[in-house]
Subunit: 457 residues, 2 copies
């Protein structure tokens, strides 16, 4: 794409965002309903486009260039996916409006009122891979939160994404929102050009592989919200309960190993090497998990009598890089450490600050762990797999952020809004700063809290 | 500085931050009191260092390489500056703790509780110019909010900054906080090296000139909080009241022209070119403001009879760049536009999204302006000069942000914290995700709001 084509897309989104700010929030609900209707009406056309993508993908699978599991994720008509995608639009439509909320209000002087009001961020650039229905999810979240969005799907689903986004634009054309409010782009070159346009685009949200996210983080001045790695740790404290340890570690690793909130490293306190650890290891091996162990955790297993079944096939020596690898499979790195404080230090220097868990019966250890571990989620006796917007009760999820500003951990609609300050003088002469000060005849600031339920105008 | 020296500083700050997380918040109050005491005890030494800076600066002034006003800002013993700097530490110490606040809490299942708790961001790199007492202000804000900080002052104040930061480190050495919690660096080369270290530094806060801020924004992947420009606009609506217009425009421009919240452009609705505008222009000219006018606003003034005094000396033609220039002086660019919507578009494309004001008697125009203008502050009949943390009632100010994520507008201590999620199972078996789902025998999430006043452990 030429730079001027990128500018056209970006300024189209910016201008659509600015126009949308003058419309009441109810127009955005109308737009969500229209989008659902238009997708229903265009079902045959969209599934035909999806079929094209599936056929092309089948060639790739046959040639050994694509995995069967990726192919399956492209299918928009599999199981209840089509219906649940449409229902998702309605689910988002009925969520509480994240914009227009007053989060601070103060009377600075008689007739001078300050309001801090939540509002959309502006223009989002969302880049995702594989599953084409994400275009519908993201469009719904953007419309609901009042942000314009430019969407880029995976190249494997390009026919489907084009067809879905055309339907969305037809729906928008029937509303008062500009049809450039939601736009789709096709190529990496377009993404590269757009990542330069920080004067028009306010936030980039990459959802996909580590390498996708990292390459975007390294190539733009626009703020990026998301996570590259999910290197989650579970720490077995010296007071760990064996049953809890077994359940939490197995669930954290096995429930869905390809997820970013699956555990990748297990840290074992030295004092439970011969008590809790062998039981946990046995359960992991029974669940077909490959263990990459440091010398003490390895030795502890070799010393068990009778020997652990599958010891030779499932228990191996770790190497240093084992502890910085996101396995995303039934593999778990294991290390033993002498103390809670060394475990906290290990996690702070090895984890991706996503979600880390302590298994302990000690309130004090739990408290120290949760304060000391600098991650978006610090869990006590609960599987790392709970780190998820739906499980947290947010209704929907924009993504999971390992950044340290704006939004952290699972991000709901709140992560797509910021705030602005509105200052309103109702005085008969307007308000000027020069009248305030410390001298004689000068006014002082009142700073009296006020509690309006909505903006007075 | 070698890169390894930068790494030593950054890892020292990181490790100090991580250790501090294990200490109770009361230790940070103790540290603030110790810092005040040590600065008082070291007054002679610090003022001697400050005298060195002042002498070196006097040479620069004499040689015409530094302004007299910059020299004055270096003087730590001028007026009540020393006392008010010390008092500032106590003022920050008694503010409410921004950390440890529970902002969301939900029971996900029996005995499974989720808390969202505010916490420090981590390691701050703060870069400022000229006034050396900023090192004390920032150290106090960082300690109060639980963040470690690396500080870089202007080279003109380097002796003072070294002396202040040595005293701060002596004070920290008497507390349980590591003395690398607050560190000062001296050179631009050190800043350049540190800006590369995004694995250790979480947020950069530049406070200074446009060029300082812009060069930092362009040279780091670390998030930057602040503002490069303060291009504030005042718009005179067709329903503007003349007296309010005069007062608000004059105050916005004249109260402190070098401030980022001073007005730089005045937008005049065409219909008030011959009514409100001449009165405003007259007041501005009387206040010695130079006006850079587009043809309609210029013509309106030339047609007044009797002619405006000082028309020839104070009223000039604008050029396109007048409207993207931050004058920071008694100069104001003026443009006429035909409508409210064109004024909103003008502001969105020309302003720095800092603070913009409408003068109007119409509730509808005020509402449209505040919704349509995409700036951190949108003001109605109130001077842009009110955009300030102290005036907003925040007690202290970290800076003013024109970014669109995390914190926007004047930023108080809240801008130096983020949150983490703490999930705690009190169940007898711990909690695992695999037990939840839609099938028979599966648990459903409760998502019941809970209202704890503090963390239960």
């Amino acid at each position: 794409m030429t730079d001027s084509a990128a500018v056209t897309i970006a300024t189209g989104a910016r201008s659509a965002f600015e126009k949308s700010q003058l419309l009441p929030a109810s127009e955005r609900i109308t737009a969500l309903n229209e989008i659902r209707k238009e997708l229903e009406a265009s079902k045959d056309e969209i599934l035909a486009a999806n079929k094209k993508d599936l056929e092309l993908a089948q060639h790739e699978v046959d040639a050994g260039r694509m995995s069967e599991s990726l192919l399956k994720r492209l299918d928009l008509n599999k199981g209840d996916k089509w219906e649940s995608t449409l229902q998702g639009i309605t689910d988002v439509a009925i969520l509480a409006d994240p914009t227009g909320r007053i989060t601070y209000a103060s009377e600075l002087d008689d007739g001078l009122e300050l309001y801090r009001v939540t509002c959309p961020i502006g223009v989002l650039l969302v880049i995702f891979e594989a599953r084409p229905e994400v275009v519908v999810n993201i469009a719904a979240l953007a419309v609901k939160s009042g942000n314009a969005a430019i969407l880029k799907g995976g190249k494997e689903s390009s026919n489907t994404v084009v067809s879905l986004s055309q339907a969305i634009q037809r729906a928008l054309a029937r509303t008062s929102l500009p049809d450039t409010y939601i736009q789709a782009i096709q190529t990496r070159a377009e993404v590269s050009s757009l990542l330069e346009l920080d004067q028009y685009i306010d936030l980039v949200i990459p959802r996909g592989s580590n390498s996708l996210v990292r390459s975007i983080q390294n190539s733009t001045r626009i703020p990026v919200m998301g996570h590259a790695d999910g290197l989650c740790n579970v720490y077995l404290d010296k007071s760990a309960d064996t049953e809890k340890a077994v359940r939490v570690v197995v669930d954290s690793k096995v429930d869905y190993p390809a997820a970013c909130n699956a555990a990748e490293t297990l840290i074992v306190h030295e004092s439970v090497l011969h008590t809790v650890w062998p039981m946990v290891a046995q359960a992991l091996v029974q669940a077909n998990v490959q263990l990459l162990c440091d010398p003490p955790t390895l030795k502890a297993l070799w010393n068990i009598s009778p020997p652990l079944p599958q010891l030779r096939t499932h228990v191996h020596s770790s190497i240093p890089s084992s502890y910085t690898t996101e396995h995303l499979s039934l593999t778990l790195s294991v290390v033993s450490l002498p103390s809670l404080s060394s475990a906290i230090q290990w996690i702070n220097s090895h984890s991706s600050h996503h979600t880390d868990c302590i298994v302990t019966e000690s309130e004090e250890a739990a408290s120290l762990f949760c304060r000391g571990v600098d991650s978006a989620g610090t869990f006590v006796n609960a599987s790392t797999r709970f780190a998820d917007g739906f499980r947290y009760g947010f209704g929907t999820e924009v993504g999971i952020s390992t950044g340290k500003i704006h939004a952290r951990g699972p991000v709901g609609l709140e992560g797509l809004v910021i705030y602005k300050y509105i200052l309103r003088s109702k005085g008969s002469q307007g308000h000027v700063v020069g009248e305030f000060g410390v001298g004689a005849g000068k006014k002082r600031y009142k700073h009296a809290d006020i509690n309006p339920s909505s903006l007075p105008f």
